[in-house]
Symmetry: C2
Subunit: 499 residues, 2 copies
């Protein structure tokens, strides 16, 4: 049952809360195409802010953007054995290039004479088409490293979809780099992992665990995969970004060799890495509340909404004038601001409306406050209100935004810590993951066998989210006994139920 | 036969020159997928600059971005009769959602059990999927206008493709707006036409004719279409952007009605408008030369390349130091700058290299000039070189860039005027368009019959590019006799052979 805002409370049904919120907050809408969503202007503005920040970070670390074809010849997918295994089952396949009038006179049919010689796959990821291109771009060590990123849409035919978290089509960036040595590729994949961690924590305000995927969870075709893992308010893990060291797998599959400084012919080392519109779902699940979307100020489409009051025109002239001046001054200071001048809506309605849509702060411009030379500033995360003198507003807003940014992170960090557990017996482990809900991050010992990981997942639905790069506690790095088998384990790994 | 830079001279074979240049200037590359190109980092940087400028202009005129699905259900295409007629023959059709191992053991086949109930079309344009969505977003006049743009990839299965000008997949923006009245939609389509004209002329340095398409050339589904038309160096027209007033066609096809202020239920009026990566091809064909790509400074990925000289390390320490300081100061002034420190390449090689890739200016930092406190600045469009004192360089570069921007436009404008003709007899008209080449813009009378336009096109390959909104000369607006039929004509229209 939803509250008077049309959103199911989190503690009643977290999943329903999320679905309600995405719609009510105007972030996305259903589409007529199975599993595909429409990203509405507010959701897309958030994505644009994310893109800008990430793109700047990629460029600051030496990357450039390019664009590769949407379509991948079927034969390309076949070239890397693990890769095809990972993606063949969820491919949108283009088989024809023309429609024609239905001979029965009703509508259109696929023209059987326009069948493609080779089927084309709508890219689920672009390693194959890109490495087929890199073969022509790389001859010598002087052509390396090649540091390219692509902003694109991709398609994976998922059976169970959910807006932002898992959709048939989604938007993402995919970096694809080429290097002369294993070490350089390793450095690159770790550098990007750090970019992702920085973005998650400093921009999204989302604390993440940074680690390596276990063999059974790594990317199809990777040598190894790094990940950042966030924790949602319903204490499930969510993979927010991955950075893959691909070794020489794709270079071998597509025959990409270079002449080394020493004159030998060597296969190229590769990385690939990506984050997607899933980050928006992550944001929502970490910060938002029963009143709606809570956006971290650095990424929020609306950092300030100004609500001028006034029942008569004379009063409105006054509050509108002050509001417009605030808006101009705040915009000049680089702050994303809106003024809500709708006259048919009550102030209370507007408060709810903008709280739902994630405006970080609200300036209430009322005639009585103005008489006293003040306005009220309300803040989205804590709900705190303060009375601020009119001439202090433009200086005060950035302080509140900075404090809110820090507060969202600190709150989520404390939540993550409170929901990080160390478990040493199978009984405890199993009971923690019993039932439908999540159990936070559970650090437990594992014997490094894929079979064991699969058995644990089967029994508890908990999977290995990552092997942390730095132990959370020093003792996490000490050896122990596998939670399931009792076999030796070199260190604790992180288990969780995951989105 | 190509010159020593690997580019066929324009006067020898304009078409070969274009194809050579796109590759040699590192703007795009072939892909393994028929008709699709790879946009290389330099070409993509140009597109990013175009996107940024256009996006700012769209936002300044009240538009917001959103994102709609890549796939369009086949039945949607069928709903608007003219629209389907225009696009059905060039559609990439997704029929299946899974591959499986070939039972014969070799590779993959399309899984016949994963056939879609309804085929999906990869969007050739998004009117249908967007208007199907707008039905849920528009109820009242208060929901209007709806001013949305989308940056996206689209696919049209073209039989004859050419990099940037006509590719199976291309990148573009498509605006889709909804309005309460015919007049408001008309105002919107004209406003965007003016944005396009401004962008073409002030950013690309490409003078354009602004006009309306004749009935036979309008967008499939439009009430009427506006266009901007540029002229290439081989005196052919190139359509660079279009803005469509769609009337109520899509609102009727998708049943999108709103309650007016007066309480009546009305169909919504629509516009759509787009420019694409074709603009890059247009740029090249208007400004570039036998030495390579000439980029207008406001959009150029590389506005300045600095080439430090020096055969020994001591000299290089000095020229590198000066170059790095220039680069830092220019970058701080918002100028896009590179320093070419490759030590195995001669200065002459670097000059050719960056001229080919469209660097607007070049700073040659040589030890002897430095002794005199000067460097040489060379300019890409005119080839002029000037000696500039070291402390004046950072102030001088923006002046040269501004002058080059103005010069490119002025030169192209003069070229267009010199290649704009008025023709009054069929004999002259026919002979102008005889042979393979273009004949510039030919202003002639036309009797407004589609049949006549088709006959003229059949006989001469010249099509009506537009009916200018403002007559180029006052006399162009005077009535006359159709060039082919001798029937009455209200005004001259623009004929040309077109890309």
């Amino acid at each position: 049952m939803s509250n008077n805002l049309g959103v199911t409370p989190r503690d009643q049904d977290f999943s329903a809360w999320y679905n309600d919120l995405v719609i009510k907050a105007d972030l996305a809408d259903d589409s007529a195409v199975r599993g595909c969503m429409v990203i509405k202007p507010l959701g897309y503005a958030l994505w644009e802010n994310m893109q800008r920040a990430l793109d700047d970070m990629f460029k600051a670390t030496g990357h450039v953007n390019a664009y590769f074809p949407l379509f991948i010849p079927k034969s390309f997918l076949e070239k890397e054995a693990d890769h095809v295994e990972g993606f063949a089952k969820e491919c949108a396949v283009v088989t024809h290039h023309r429609l024609k009038a239905n001979p029965n006179g009703h509508g259109l049919i696929v023209d059987p004479e326009a069948k493609l010689e080779e089927e084309l796959i709508v890219r689920p990821t672009s390693e194959t088409v890109i490495w087929n291109t890199y073969r022509n771009w790389i001859q010598s060590y002087r052509d390396l490293p090649l540091l390219i990123n692509q902003w694109a849409n991709v398609v994976r035919w998922e059976m169970r979809t959910r807006k932002f978290l898992r959709t048939t089509e989604f938007l993402w960036q995919e970096g694809h780099t080429a290097h002369a040595t294993y070490e350089e590729a390793e450095e690159e994949s770790r550098k990007i992992l750090e970019v992702y961690r920085t973005f998650a924590e400093e921009w999204m305000g989302v604390p993440v665990l940074v680690g390596m995927k276990s063999e059974n969870e790594k990317f199809a075709g990777a040598h190894h995969t790094y990940t950042i893992e966030a924790l949602t308010q319903d204490v499930r893990a969510i993979q927010a970004g991955t950075s893959h060291h691909l070794g020489q797998n794709f270079a071998k599959a597509f025959d990409v060799k270079f002449q080394s400084k020493e004159g030998t012919l060597e296969y190229v080392y590769a990385t690939s890495w990506g984050v997607s519109t899933r980050l928006i779902g992550t944001l929502i699940m970490v910060h938002s509340d029963d009143k709606g979307f809570v956006a971290p100020p650095r990424l929020a489409p609306v950092q300030v909404v100004i609500v001028p009051m006034g029942r008569d025109e004379e009063t409105r002239n006054r509050t509108y004038g002050v509001s417009d001046q605030f808006a101009a001054d705040l915009a000049a200071a680089g702050i994303r601001v809106r003024v809500d001048k709708r006259e048919k809506e009550s102030p209370g309605h507007k408060y709810n409306y903008w709280e739902m849509r994630g405006a970080c702060t609200r300036i209430e411009v009322g005639p009585r406050d103005l008489d006293a030379g003040t306005v009220i500033i309300a803040r989205r995360d804590t709900g705190d209100k303060e009375t601020v003198s009119v001439d202090h507003v433009v200086a005060r807003i950035p302080e509140i935004l900075a404090d809110m940014q820090a507060n969202l992170f600190a709150k989520a960090k404390a939540f993550n810590l409170a929901n990080t557990h160390r478990v040493d017996t199978w009984e405890e482990f199993e009971s923690m993951f019993a039932g439908e809900g999540g159990a936070g991050f559970v650090l437990a010992h594992w014997d490094e066998s894929i079979l064991t990981a699969e058995k644990i997942a089967e029994k508890t639905k908990a999977t290995i989210r990552c092997i942390p790069l730095e132990p959370l506690l020093p003792s996490d790095a000490e050896p122990g006994r596998c939670i399931l088998t009792g076999n030796p384990s070199p260190r604790r790994v992180v288990f969780a139920k995951a989105y």
